[in-house]
């Protein structure tokens, strides 16, 4: 089922009349059966967006459509969604089994089938042995998996996951990530997956939305977003190690770095923010000469630190291509991997 947000806005007003714009005019269409990652820093309005789709928070303005139905005013229980809360919200007085069974009890599922589905789902998320325990007797990661099972067991039309993997260890996280992706593929449930972990979002999403201060920054498939970010915020938010950014001038269609022309650019003269991802640098004889400040060997790759216009810049290059004694190193980077952003708006000016 397609999910459409139209000009969705939420303004919280506290007692002294102070207003917080938690979500700001979101216009997003999520195609049926896709998994969309909702990504952004803490406090950017991810949970609020999810709660509005779930019907737990009333939008200040804007509309929400499930398919062709306007559900903006519909009560949460009529929307047929599954929601994994950021802090699980497991019923503390019920066992794991009862917790997962609870949504099925409210539906007209035959008893045998309901029990069967609970057990199958519990095994799927790997908590099959814990069915008799109370939530307080589980670790954070186990509780999280119970919450996922409870949301999935009723086969919702839309699945909303609010940072569902934040409490798992790295290995389990990877495993659950694949599991969620697989379940989502198999069932074809339209899914929104909230996270502040860009790597997780990139690996699981068909498409990603990046939010900042409640505003949509970009809505694209992960790789497209990574390779052609719309603005400096998105560029900085994606990638690990993060993108290098520094200020540079364009003079006569030439980008000036360390008082030397670095490359040809086809934009008006002026000051710009430049972004270059560390992994896009290559060591090459005829490259741009840089003075090495520090070298770190990290396994297969080597990290070089140097200055570009007074800012520390990192390059991640092949260990083979450099030795420790080198004082200078010549680097190149492909033109389309250099991002220039407007100083005022932050928008990219040499891409798209």
């Amino acid at each position: 089922m397609e999910l459409r947000l139209e000009n969705l806005t939420k303004i919280f007003t506290n007692k002294n009349g102070q207003e917080t714009k938690a979500v700001d005019s979101l216009d997003i269409t999520i195609e049926s059966g896709t998994l969309v990652g909702l990504l952004g820093p803490s406090g950017c309005g991810k949970s609020t967006t999810l709660f509005m789709i779930a019907g737990l928070v009333k939008p200040t303005t804007g509309k929400i459509f499930f398919g062709d139905d306007d559900v903006t005013k519909l009560a949460p229980e009529k929307r047929g969604i599954g929601l994994v809360f950021q802090n699980y919200a497991l019923y503390p007085h019920m066992t794991v089994f009862k917790n997962i069974l609870f949504p099925l009890e409210n539906m007209d599922v035959p008893r045998d089938e309901a029990f069967e589905r609970v057990k199958a789902m519990a095994n799927l998320v790997g908590i099959g042995e814990l069915l008799d325990r109370k939530p307080s007797q589980l670790s954070g990661g186990q509780q999280q998996r119970v919450a996922i099972a409870r949301a999935l067991v009723k086969k919702p039309r839309v699945l909303l996951l609010d940072e569902p993997l934040s409490n798992l260890d790295a290995r389990l996280r990877l495993q659950m990530r694949e599991e969620i992706k697989r379940i989502q593929r198999e069932t074809g449930i339209t899914t929104i997956f909230v996270t502040h972990d860009q790597e997780e979002a990139m690996s699981i999403s068909d498409k990603m939305v990046v939010l900042d201060f409640g505003k949509e920054q970009q809505y694209d498939p992960p790789q497209d977003m990574y390779n052609s970010p719309d603005n400096l915020f998105v560029a900085k938010f994606l990638g690990n190690p993060p993108i290098n950014s520094f200020e540079a001038e364009v003079k006569n269609k030439k980008l000036i770095i360390n008082e030397k022309p670095f490359m040809q650019v086809n934009i008006p003269d002026g000051l710009y923010d430049v972004g270059m991802r560390p992994e896009n640098f290559r060591v090459k004889e005829d490259g741009f000469q840089t003075t090495v400040k520090e070298i770190f060997h990290i396994g297969r790759d080597t990290m070089i630190h140097f200055d570009f216009n007074g800012k520390n810049v990192r390059a991640l290059v092949d260990s083979e291509s450099i030795n420790d004694k080198q004082k200078t190193v010549n680097l190149t980077i492909k033109t389309e991997r250099v991002y220039l952003f407007d100083k005022q708006t932050g928008k990219v000016v040499n891409h798209g």
Binding site: P76, G82, F85, A89, P103
Partner: protein, 360 residues
């Protein structure tokens, strides 16, 4: 003028800060001394904290409460065990005719109007009390739950209604009883007026006055005790319902849970420790009912001209202290111990039941 006010305010804030600073420094100095003293004692191996065991300290801190309890609670309890073995105790000249182990208990248990209704009456103290306990406690708990859930769900005028429901708690029991007696008056009472408004024949329909039928006066008594005990229960339930994390209701809404199931599967279990507490204390309270009966029917515990009595167990006990049989404290003590035993057994039963039903 505005400037003056602003300056005055700034001045007050400054003074406030100075005072807070003084207190802060006093605490620092005291802490410093405390540390020095304790270091000194440690060095000399004199630290009292190390010398006294934990329970001695606990006893010291508990002693004020323990002393008060000992004088007004423990001593009377011990005393009633002592009293109960006296035979034919006479308070006025403090004489006994001998000692007996079970005599006073047997006297109470076989007494007319304690368990077995006396020949000319239709009820006994135990029957009356049990009826009151087993009807008024469940009804009042259920009503209080329903009202608290309703109060919790309304938005406008919330605190107004909370105040309304809390008013009986701060009103004198005797005064409420008199108001009730007035409401249930035969001639011109509110209830009879109301009933006749619907065409019911109310001429001589007596509730609490002469010739009232047993079940009618009992109804008024139960109605009264439910109403009088509602306020406290509502307050306790409402507070604990308000303490339930909102996210459980959000999760329930997402799972399309019907209202009744939200109440029975989420609200009730989550406040079950409070429900248990209220049940135990209300059962005990209802067993000790006294004020309400006196307020409605006077010290005789019966409307004039009727052949029954609405006496409760506690009223039965009191008659040996200042009532018709004044003076025989041994019998009163035996009655108290029987009441104590009944309450003890019921409380143990409730605790056993609660092990399965209460979620902490």
């Amino acid at each position: 003028m505005g400037n003056l006010f602003k300056n005055a305010k700034r001045f007050l804030i400054k003074i406030g800060n100075v005072i807070k600073n003084i207190f802060w420094n006093i605490r620092r100095i005291l802490n410093n001394y405390k540390r020095k003293i304790s270091n000194f004692l440690d060095k000399k191996r004199l630290n009292p904290a190390g010398k006294f065991p934990g329970w001695a300290k606990a006893l010291l801190y508990l002693s004020p409460a323990l002393i008060v309890l000992a004088i007004f609670t423990f001593w009377p309890i011990i005393n009633s065990f002592a009293l109960v073995v006296y035979e034919n105790y006479n308070m006025s000249n403090n004489t006994i005719t001998g000692y007996t182990l079970f005599g006073n208990f047997i006297r109470v248990l076989t007494d007319e109007s304690f368990i077995v209704p006396a020949s000319h009456t239709a009820s006994s103290a135990v029957i009356n009390t049990l009826i009151i306990v087993f009807i008024s406690v469940p009804i009042s708990i259920f009503l209080a739950l329903a009202i608290s859930v309703a109060l919790n769900s309304i938005k406008p005028l919330k605190s107004f209604f909370q105040t309304i429901y809390f008013l009986p708690y701060v009103t004198n029991t005797i005064a409420i009883g008199l108001v009730f007696a007035y409401m249930f008056k035969t001639d011109g009472g509110l209830v009879n007026e109301f009933l006749s408004f619907f065409g019911i024949q109310t001429d001589g329909l007596s509730w609490v006055e002469s010739n009232a039928v047993y079940w009618r006066s009992m109804f008024v008594l139960i109605f009264y005790s439910i109403w009088a005990s509602l306020a406290f229960k509502i307050m306790v339930f409402l507070t604990s319902i308000q303490g339930i994390d909102k996210q459980y209701y959000q999760a329930a809404a997402i799972d399309a849970t019907p209202k009744g199931r939200i109440f029975s599967k989420i609200t009730v279990p989550l406040i079950s420790p409070m429900i248990f507490y209220i049940t135990v204390t209300s059962v005990i309270g209802a067993f000790k009912i006294y004020n309400a009966i006196v307020a409605l029917f006077g010290v005789t515990g019966a409307p004039p001209g009727v052949s029954y009595n609405l006496q409760s167990i506690v009223m039965y006990i009191y008659q040996f202290i200042d009532g018709s049989n004044a003076g025989n404290l041994s019998v009163a003590a035996a009655g108290s111990l029987i009441l104590f035993a009944i309450i003890l057994v019921l409380t143990i039963v409730q605790m056993q039941v609660s092990k399965k039903r209460v979620h902490y």
